[in-house]
Amino acid sequence: MSSKSSAAANGQALWAKVPKANAELFALTYGALVMEVVSDSDGNVDEINEQLEKIGYSIGIRSVDEFLAKSNSPYCKNLEETANVLGKTAFKMFLGINCDVQIYNPPTSFSLILHDNPLSLFVELPDNYKDTLQYTILYCGVIRGALEMLNYKVECTLIKSTLRGDDVDEIKVDLKNILQDGAGEDYQEE
């Protein structure tokens, strides 16, 4: 699809230009953060997952502006284009990874498939957390936050995780509704 390949080309060009940091430092720093959350949550996995998702949300609402300012991405007219820009351009620009984007039918959901996950480098989940701790739920929060700033209210779930034994990481994004900008409502004609 031309939209997918131009998004990918844009992503590649942006990745080449952005200043870089060491990926291992990135992974280890996330690990340190997760450990802080784990120790503060007293073993309550739901709380841990929720906190990590919230942290992701905070990153998402902030990083979207940088993406818009620096990427020159064309305006996305529908969720499919948004999915391509998110997966092919944004993920590439920020993380240097190539994602697969899978659009579902009806096109109110899409999945991002990561073959390479910078967050889970060096990570092995202990048995008591293996099936419950969603280590990379951070991405779900980031996507939810970023899309909310663009008026898409979505729900993200970690469908597959290499830390649980799957061969890829997959994040499913479901569109719940599209928010309207509030400012103009007062002035609309009745």
Partner: protein
């Protein structure tokens, strides 16, 4: 040649204002807050009142609101981000011949994304107090002021 810069958040609150040269009129804080929210409302009205919508959004901005105001004493340029943030700059009328105000606003947006959004001490939607940002804007304005 530049007069003022101000930044309005999504809810119409003023998060940043500064004068860009000694020629700029001095305004009190309350006046600034009023300007911020007034402009926010005017922008929304203009969006609703506009008879023609831009086809497919030719640029990065989202809605069709106020982009430029040209008056006898000044010219105003506004850039609204797709996240609802408005960057507004005013300048003396002859400025646009020498510089592209839109470009300056876009660069200030980039500074904002770097110096404010990545600063752990900055809270979103709050007034900007990031030293790196103010210094960056200062340098940017000086650079453009030297272009004649």
């Amino acid at each position: 040649m530049f007069l003022h810069l101000f930044i309005v958040n999504k809810s119409g609150g003023l998060i940043h204002h500064r004068s860009l040269s000694s020629k700029a009129p001095k305004l009190g804080t309350n006046e600034w807050l009023r300007i911020g929210s007034t402009f926010h409302s005017l922008y929304a009205i203009a969006n609703e009142a506009s008879p023609v919508k831009l086809p497919g959004n030719k640029k990065n901005g989202a809605d069709d609101g106020i982009e430029e105001i040209q008056a006898d004493g000044m010219t105003l340029n506004c850039f609204q981000t797709r996240t609802g943030l408005k960057f507004v700059i005013t300048a003396e009328p002859n400025t646009t011949a020498a510089v592209d105000l839109g470009q300056i606003l876009r660069e200030i947006y980039m500074l904002y994304t770097d110096c404010c959004l990545k600063d752990p001490f900055y809270e979103l939607e709050m007034p900007i107090r990031c030293e790196l940002f103010t210094q960056g804007v200062e340098n940017l304005i000086q650079k453009y002021s030297r272009i004649r």
